[in-house]
Amino acid sequence: MITSNPPFPVNSYGPDAVIMKDIDGLNWNLSEYEKRGGYQALRKILVEGMSPEDVIAEVKKSALRGRGGAGFSTGLKWSFMPKGEGQKYVVCNSDEGEPGTFKDRDLLRYNPHIVIEGMAIAAYAIRASVGYNYIHGEIWEVYERFEEALEEARAAGFLGNQIMGSQFAFDLYAHHGFGAYICGEETALLESIEGKKGQPRFKPPFPASYGLYGCPTTINNTETFAAVPSLILEGADAYLSLGKPNNGGTKIFSVSGDVVRPGNYEVRLGTPFADLLEMAGGMRDGNDLKAVIPGGSSMPVLPAEVMMATDMDYDSIAKAGSMLGSGAVIVMDETRCMVRCLLRLSYFYHEESCGQCTPCREGTGWLYRLVKRIQNGTGEDGDIDKLLSLSDNIGGRTICALGDAAALPVKSFIEHFRPEFEYLIKYKKSQVESI
């Protein structure tokens, strides 16, 4: 059970919040959710009658893109599912393990029913009868909260057979992981649900043709499902207009690091970074902004001046040289040693590599040890080039994206902050921390 659960002001997630609108930290349960208009989208589909194809077309039109990291069109993904008979699954990826990301945790804790409703709509659209929500192993209380919400939904007839009197049947189960980052990779997640060791599968085949237990499966991030009910209820156009073309809707950003009020902020896609930073209270202690990782630890870091000129949406951040990713905005101020920051990231990927394929298993450890020796002051000339070369040998050569995730930060940190690395190798001390 969640023990500390303070009520907070209802606009804590920002004035434009849709998913987290009117959330105060206590009003998570079914009756409160229904008061906020919960399960009306599902009702609209099942009672007023919307075909699965209509639902998918609506989602496509809304330009809702995957909130887990890759930013792939959700409607398009759903449309990949085979139309025929046979068992299909819908799976929610709540294995939120990316450093800096903590939005799904809030979502499941404070608004679990919106995920359940979103998944039920997805199940209807792709004709799946069973769903799983795979919840990160290190947030046990969230798993328990979600189980409670599931019980409520089942008791109220939002899950089970003949939902709202229709012929639609959908069973949803929660499944908790044990904290392995790799299980957030969608095919490793499927392996894990199947009771196997969490290791990514080689693709193709993709889950839409060979997923859970070998059946067609759609996997989306928690926040993606959570975005669906309002999208259906208000319509694709309204949803799209919240953001900007090709980047529909709102997005929850987990802002962490050197800001006054770290936390989750739900803003319209396309909101300038400067505005988001202001929502988080601005820079802590009046320090200058130095760098931002805009999309979670796997994405390239961007220097302050680039960030300050960037809007927070998929296309703008990609144009700036990074990726929106999961929406984890890690803010670093002028006091941060970039070598030390990279060391922490490299350690993470070294620790979380699943060990299945060679470049990642062997390479992530090597990267970490190289960054560590630079940071220790025992780096040598050539180490920086070696880091870049190793990153090239890992990136794009592994079974899953963890290899890229380990390589991209190294390359971007060196690209933007190479003098700090050179200084450390030359003078055996940090250029920043020694100031």
Binding site: A180, I182, K197, F202, P204, H350, E351, E352, S353, C354, G355, Q356, C357, T358, P359, R361, E362, G363, T364, G365, W366, R369, K386, D392, N393, G396, R397, T398, I399
Partner: protein, 785 residues
């Protein structure tokens, strides 16, 4: 078909092929470690990364589907960079101990490192150390730091051996290949993991540090231990076979062999090899030369005390066709028809018109079956690789597999169904199946089945058999030694005819078919193996036979032999035969002679010697020919093995017709029900590593769990009823004899059954056959403690 281009060369491949398949078809070598043509695709080593036009990054050839008009470059700058990058990663933690590594010289990593590795290393951190794993007496995992995590061994276990005994535990660079906690690797196919391991992580325990690969001569031969006829490469250092690996033959053993075939070579070099002819005078063995030994036999046979019709001959089905042919010819020329190779068979009634025991189909066809009924057979132990083919049938063809057995089959095939009955009730259950099938098909009930009451199991089996299109009814070698053998075989033929299924009869040894076609069987007035023991004769000739182990009546056999005036043992080993023989003649094991084995499918495979003869030993065919000539017998002029084979030609030519002969089932219509005991019954198996004189001397195999059979296995029900726990000392009584030995509770046994293996110490006293037994608990291990 898909047309694509690899390195500028156009190639056409089947739909569903990979880039690797296309490259292989063109003969373009793409470096790889985890890819193995018989295992599933893992794509984890990343060594086979190649450039594909329009792909943003290099793709693994092994896992990338070939598509129309694809352009692949395996040696482009991008491909080579990727391959070199992977090789660097593979080497950073791999110990560079090639000079002392057993795999050195035959290591894929070493070979590819020459082409793709750097001359120096950019890695100056400490290397990873991985602890030694204990996997049992056959497979060594002492240097797991060398492991490159290709998971071939894991996939081999899951996909070929049918049991996952190794897995990769841990994460990232802490990943390690290991067995389940406290377990070793016990699959009967485990040695293949050594072959599939591309580096020196898994090595052969018996072979370790015995030789470097380049010191070995390699010669092709055929396995003498089971009727599959696996093709082997024997590797010889000096005069000694010191390793055996598979020789690929897609029709027979693919690229696998059983552990029995792989590790049995140790027996060839056993300390009790007979290296000189020996004569026993007044109870003392004396080495003599060949002339003296043969003269001694001539003299003895000439003495009026030995009547020709009182000469008996025992052969074993591990002997070559040439040996068996000459052996029976020799005995018949002496004037005796007393010759048999079926030393464990008790029921000698003919089941049909001279049908030879064979598989009834080709080995490869087994994979295409959709219905398999196996009767009285521990298939994994009798024919390890045939069990693998059955698993493939289940996996690829969704075949239904059912067993009529006295213990659960553990065939490791998914969804295999066991129908358990006591050994004496097998024929009864089969009668029921025949009746049920006749009912389902609306056929007239055959005679003699009127009072047979069809039970639930029989109905299930019948339903299984009437459906499906490609069916096999397979009778195990265990049934060859069954008191109801002829009935079970007859019923199988009848059932086969009814449901249009092939009928296979498995037999012991590598060459039962050879023994059958050269008529290594008693003549019309001759005595069979059992009668030659119960009616003591004046003289005996033994070809490779060790009666204490190869006969189902070891005690009476020893008595009969000890009372004879002349016992000539043609054997490669002296350990056992010296107890009852009067003359021992050293003959070559299969490895030191030319010979021919005819496998269970009827394929005749000839082979030459792979090593020179040891001591004064000679190939048995040469010895028998010389003995025949010395005794002035007609037509024993053989200059070479080819002269013998010329005379075998007619027999071999007649084989296909003999195999295809339709069984005439009119011969037997009485007492179909079988022996049907009530009460506790014994199951008597031949332990996997006791099947012949060579395997019995293979020291590493004798350390496996499979060789620990000196106990009585008691079913769970009986153990409760008689209050027996593991290690309690139990008395087993059968046929008026008894023996005390420790008990093991075995949940796989049918409720009223105990298992005492044929080659156990107990079996030597109480005999080796199935039948009613009495079990008494003498004292429990807990009271001793």
């Amino acid at each position: 078909m898909i047309t694509l281009e690899v390195d500028g060369k156009t190639v056409e491949v089947e739909n569903g092929s990979t880039v690797m398949d296309a490259a292989n078809k063109l003969g373009v070598h793409v470096p790889h470690f985890c890819y193995h043509k018989k295992l599933s695709i893992a794509a984890n080593c990343r060594m086979c990364l190649v450039e594909v036009e329009k792909a943003p990054k290099p793709l693994p050839a092994c896992a990338t589907p070939a598509t129309q008009n694809m352009k692949v470059y395996t040696r482009s700058e991008q491909a080579k960079n990727a391959q070199k990058g992977v090789m660097e990663f593979l080497l950073i933690n791999h110990p560079l101990d090639c000079p002392i590594c057993d795999q050195g010289g035959e290591c894929q990593l070493q070979d590819l490192a020459v082409g793709y590795g750097g001359s120096g290393s950019r890695f100056n951190e400490a290397k990873r150390i991985v602890s030694t794993k204990e996997l049992g007496p056959l497979v060594s995992a002492s240097e797991m730091s060398r492991c490159i995590h290709c998971t071939r061994c894991v996939r081999f276990g899951q996909e070929i051996a049918g049991v996952m005994e190794l897995g990769m535990a841990g994460r990232g660079e802490h990943s390690e290949i290991m067995s389940f906690v406290g377990s070793t690797v016990e699959s009967e196919l485990s040695g293949n993991m050594i072959d599939v391991c591309p580096v020196g992580a898994l090595t052969s325990k018996p072979f370790r540090y015995a030789a470097r690969t380049w010191e070995l001569a390699r010669r092709k031969t055929v396995s003498p231990h089971d009727a599959l006829g696996s093709n082997l490469t024997a590797q010889i250092k000096g005069d000694t076979v010191i390793r055996v690996v598979p020789y690929e033959n897609a029709e027979i053993n693919e690229c696998w062999i059983s552990d029995r075939d792989r590790f049995s070579y140790e027996g060839l070099n056993a300390s009790d090899r007979l290296l000189s002819p020996m004569i026993k005078t007044d109870g003392v063995w004396e080495e003599v030369d060949w002339a003296l030994a043969l003269d001694h036999i001539k003299e003895k046979l000439a003495s009026s005390n030995i009547k020709p019709e009182s000469i008996g001959a025992f052969a074993v089905p591990q002997a070559t066709t040439e040996e068996l042919y000459l052996f029976q010819k020799f005995i018949r020329a002496l004037g005796s028809e007393n010759i048999d190779y079926r030393l464990r068979q008790t029921d000698h009634e003919a089941s049909s018109n001279s049908r030879v025991p064979w598989l009834g189909m080709s080995i490869t066809d087994v994979e295409h079956l959709d219905r398999i009924l196996v009767i009285g057979c521990d298939i994994r132990k009798e024919q390890p690789l045939l069990a693998h083919r059955m698993r493939q049938a289940v996996k690829k063809n969704d075949a239904s597999l059912a067993f009529i057995n006295s213990m659960t089959s553990d065939s490791l095939a998914q969804a295999a169904k066991d129908y358990l009955v006591a050994p004496s009730h097998i024929a009864e259950l089969m009668c029921q199946v025949v009746k049920a099938v006749s009912g389902l098909l609306g056929r007239k009930m055959p005679e003699g089945f009127d009072d047979c009451k069809v039970g639930k199991d029989a109905n299930h089996i019948a339903e299984l058999l009437v459906s499906g299109s490609k069916k096999l009814i397979l009778v195990g070698a265990m049934c060859r030694n069954h008191a109801d053998r002829s009935k079970i075989e007859w019923l199988s033929h009848l059932l086969g005819e009814l449901v249009d299924a092939k009928v296979g009869l498995l037999s012991e040894g590598a060459n039962s078919l050879g023994a059958e076609i050269v008529n290594s069987l008693p003549g019309s007035n001759g005595l069979d193996a059992g009668e030659m023991i119960t009616t003591p004769l004046d003289a005996y000739f033994l070809l490779h036979a060790e009666m204490g182990e190869d006969s189902c009546m070891p005690g009476p056999a020893a008595d009969a032999l000890k009372s004879a005036q002349l016992v000539v043992a043609l054997n490669a080993f002296k350990g056992e035969v010296s107890e009852y023989a009067t003359v021992m003649l050293p003959i070559s094991p299969f490895s030191e002679t030319a010979g021919t084995f005819i496998n269970l499918e009827g394929i005749s495979q000839s082979f030459g010697p792979v090593a020179p003869t040891k001591g004064l030993s000679r190939p048995a065919w040469r010895l028998i020919a010389a003995l025949g000539k010395l005794l002035d017998l007609t037509d024993f002029e053989y200059q070479s093995i080819e002269d013998v084979r010329a005379q075998l030609k007619d027999h071999l030519d007649g084989l296909p017709a003999k195999l295809q002969m339709k069984p005439d089932l009119s011969s037997m219509r009485t007492q179909l029900k079988g022996s049907a005991h009530v009460g506790i019954e014994r199951l008597s198996d031949v332990p996997m590593y006791s099947v012949d004189s060579i395997v019995r001397r293979a020291s590493a195999l004798q350390l496996t769990k499979e060789a620990m059979f000196d106990c009585v296995w008691v079913s769970t029900d009986l153990s409760t009823e008689l209050d027996i726990s593991d290690q309690d000392i139990v008395r087993v009584e059968q046929g008026g004899n008894h023996f005390d030995l420790p008990a093991q509770v075995d949940s796989s046994l049918m409720c009223s059954v105990v298992r005492v293996s044929m080659n156990s110490r107990a079996s030597k006293v109480i005999g080796g056959v199935t039948g009613a037994v009495r079990i008494t608990k003498l004292h429990s291990v807990s009271t001793v403690a």
